[in-house]
Symmetry: C2
Subunit: 191 residues, 2 copies
Amino acid sequence: MKVNYPFPNQRTIKKVDLKSHGMMFENGLNITNEYYRINNKAIIYKKPTPIQVVKVDYPARSKARIVEAYYRTPSTTDYNGIYKGKYIDYEAKETNNKSFAFKHIFPHQIEHLKLVHDNGGIAFVLIYYKCVNQVYLIDISVFYNLYKEGINGGRKSITIEKASEVGVLIKQGYTPPLDYLKAIDTYYFNQ
Amino acid sequence: MKVNYPFPNQRTIKKVDLKSHGMMFENGLNITNEYYRINNKAIIYKKPTPIQVVKVDYPARSKARIVEAYYRTPSTTDYNGIYKGKYIDYEAKETNNKSFAFKHIFPHQIEHLKLVHDNGGIAFVLIYYKCVNQVYLIDISVFYNLYKEGINGGRKSITIEKASEVGVLIKQGYTPPLDYLKAIDTYYFNQ
């Protein structure tokens, strides 16, 4: 719909030394997705952060400058795309604690993922437990049941032990940093 | 990934009188997608406009205010989601002219749609010809061929006549304003 963006395309292949830098989870996912796209394995992108623009200045002829804007609550999840012909949708979360609290994910995001699942898509949550440097893929059906149990008086978080029991551990490496398609193959394609 | 958005969720069901207001194409699509979601027909969202945030102020304790930011070129297309278990991806374009010029769509967006198609997704371009108030769905394979012909010395645009020949006309109405799932059914599901 919009054609006259003044700002140049900033997409570049980022190279990050994972060992020497404390690479953040989000960076790791973005580099992984770029690796998947380049190698024609999957087309998955992070959605832009939703921002409500209030005021824009035009100091130069063709350069719009936003001078007042606010972050908005995302309607859906951070990542979606296509893998092996299937619609993929997920939210990525990290925690400093030994248990991931459900209050750190929006209820409407959980409902969105559940809806994707009900419509035949692959939907899950990736949880990065920083303290043990482990990332788990947890299918939304499983996640949803735990979440509902929490609402009904059960535990309101997912411990690392629980994640390792019901989820799939993501193998970390160099290229790509977080090979979660392997976990998808294991969990959803029985490979 | 981001959990502490200070701004309240602004999603509301918009009601627009299509006849009395000159409803814009994008609004029409957003309302249509909302209608599809509410009625459990498809889960399709417009992606947020990508914005490069440069400077943020925190005037109040919990309210981030972006004071310098710029529009970025979108990596992909405006809309994606899932319908009948299939991954859906499209770009929506409007023109005042009787022919839609290929220069008004980014080459990398065309390549992205082609890639989605090659990976088993449903990918197309919606073109709104304002002068005749008609919207056409054109499958990316067809669009891609015309685009390539343009590069190789052929016509560098798609006329309304051509669109009506190779595309599917979208029925306009009240609920939803632009029922393009019907066009998808016709073209991709032979219904």
